[in-house]
Amino acid sequence: MKTGRSANTATAARSVQGSYTSGVVIAVLGLILLLIASPATAKIYIDINAPSLPKLKIAIPDFKNLSDKGEHPELSARLSQVVAGDLDLSGYFLPLDKESYLEGAESPLTLEEIRFKNWSVLGAELLLRGAYTCVGSRLEVEIRLFDVIWGRQIMGKRVLGEVAGYRRVMHRVGNEIIRKLTGHEGIFLTRLAFVGTMTGHKEIYTCDYDGRNLKRVTWDRSIALLPRWSPDGKRLLYNSYRDGGPMLFMRDMVSGKVRRLSGRKGLNIGAAWLPDGKRLALTLSRRGNPDIFLIDLNGKILDRLTKHWAIDVSPTFSPDGKKMAFVSSRSGSPQIYVRNLSDGREERLTFEGGYNTSPAWSSRNRIAFVSMDGGRFEIYAMDPDGTGLRKLTDGTGNNEDPCWSPDGRYIVFSSNREGSYHLYLMNANGQNQRKIVSLKGDQTAPSWVR
């Protein structure tokens, strides 16, 4: 009995002790786990809300002449100049001043030989080294783009062309650099058309995107207005008073032939291409009140796009061609409206300001327009539903005629901020405004094509 009891108590005690021990073990293991899983090391938190430099510094020394007899030594500086100008105008890069370079055209070309310290000390993030060979009229340019910070080659490229067309060759190089770094196409081979008054008459001209390579298109000695490139760049529409009233003409840019597309009674103005390049919209006032009509490339009316007692002008189409923005005076003042072409529904987009005109719909689905603001014309941009409004120009002279680059990343516009009207370029967000065409007289109404 006694033994039995003591045995029982011993078992009970043992089990109590056992559970106590295991409890301790569990507690200790739990503690270890707790410590291991405890919050990591202390942290310091810092926010940096904008870069100090909103561009990439790039060094572009003169190109090395590898021609057998050293032909065309002048290209050494010119080639680097063209690509530096392109990268500068893109708004993404800041080409460094050549005067500050520690090395010139003869500096090494290859990754192994380049002394990156000599460039990083200038603050350069990128280095573009180039060499060229001239054989007769042929030009071969080889470029290498280096990442100075990490000392590696980003791209290498060889481009062939004509010595006389060296600017074009370098624009191609510039486009390749933009594509490599940003993934999208550069604008350096695009062209502009605009109205210029240097002869005393309003005539149409074309030029490269950077204002170079100027060509006169019309010789009407009358009033030529509103040039509009076809999407493929092979045709150019414009208005001219050469036959009396404002009529619509189309010039074939390959053959140079000019054809009158619409010479109806009253106005034939403000043509806009549909994205398909086969139809266009035009304001006609043959029955008294100006409305927008759809015509084909033979001038035949296909459809009537607006029907209102007010004035409807300045059509522009969405990238998918399903909607049209235009200016109408139906509310009493010129405002921008959008029309859904499939169901005919119309909606007013602008409500601020008493004067909103010149809408331009970008391939990236933004609408730029001109608004009267404090007695001056300024350029704004908004989303196609009227939201996301942003003022792009500010405070100096009038800013008018916005026209998007084919890729929708830039706007060219005319401004009289320096007295006469000249053409200016800016990024889609209004940054980096730069004068690109500055000729005698005024330059207005730009149109841009790839």
Partner: protein, 274 residues
């Protein structure tokens, strides 16, 4: 009766009992040593903006609890403002004690339990104890105890005058805030990014978060993305900015840690809505 109850046990089952004791001993040793090694990492803080916590080291044991709780509350609000709650450890998200006491009994129980645990296992206390032990040893071996104590006090007073977020984990001093500003300026000065590449819509959204491991002399030991922006050029520009900023300014004097982590949020919010 008592002897009857307990004496037969060890005699009859001697072997298994010993192994259990050894196991217990191993576990306790493991716990103590892992505490010693892991405890220093357990102190966390979140210096933010204009909040300055003064530390009174004389009242250290009491003020610690208070300031940590206060900091937790502050830190949590600051973090939620910055949408960083996702990365906050669970323990730091716990509401202050006061609100917990008002809750049902079950939670109160948990609180009690936690307190008990904290008393038994507080890593900070274990460190203190370990440090005290080591100090005692060193004192015994080397210097004059008085000199040692005086220099120690002097050091602590210095720290109190320049409250640092170092190993004390107590709060942020002015010198430390200045340090953060210097780091921000330094990295920003080295950051180039062609902002025109980012569309208006993305200006507010684009951001990359990078974690740096930094030595006290400012050397960046390790860099990694906690969050990428999704834009290769942006991420690349951020990494270059850090690369160009290496080494950062050295930790301010009085900062007790010899390495620390810095989390940097790169974004373009300054340009948005302009």
């Amino acid at each position: 009766m008592e002897t009857l109850m307990f004496s037969p046990g060890p005699v009859s089952a001697g072997e298994p009992r010993w192994s259990r004791m050894i196991l217990l001993s191993v576990a306790v040793h493991l716990a103590v040593f892992s505490t010693l090694f892991l405890a220093p990492r357990n102190i966390s803080y979140r210096p933010r903006g204009d909040v300055v916590y003064q530390v009174d080291l004389v009242e250290m044991p009491k003020s610690r609890k208070r300031s940590v709780a206060a900091r937790k509350a502050k830190g949590t609000s600051a973090r939620s403002r910055l949408h960083r709650t996702a990365g906050v450890p669970a323990s730091r998200r716990i509401a202050p004690n006061a609100s917990r006491r008002e809750k049902p009994v079950v939670i109160a129980k948990r609180t009690l339990k936690r307190k008990k645990n904290a008393r038994r296992t507080s890593p900070a206390k274990l460190i203190d104890r370990a440090v005290a032990r080591i100090e005692r040893k060193v004192r015994a071996e080397k210097e004059d105890p008085l000199d040692r104590a005086v220099s120690k006090i002097r050091k602590r007073v210095d720290e109190a005058e320049r409250p640092s977020a170092g190993a004390t984990g107590q709060g942020v001093g002015v010198s430390f805030q200045l340090y953060m500003m210097r780091v921000e300026e330094w990295i920003k000065a080295n950051w180039s990014y062609p902002t025109a590449m980012t569309g208006d819509d993305d200006l507010e959204a684009i951001q990359a978060v990078v974690l740096l491991e930094v030595k006290s002399d400012g050397t960046i030991l390790n860099t990694r993305f906690l969050k990428r922006s999704g834009y290769a050029i942006f991420d690349d520009s951020v990494m270059k900015a850090i690369d160009k900023s290496n080494p950062l300014p050295p930790f301010p004097p009085g900062y007790l840690k010899n390495r620390d982590e810095i989390e940097i949020n790169f974004n373009l919010s300054e340009l948005a809505g302009g």
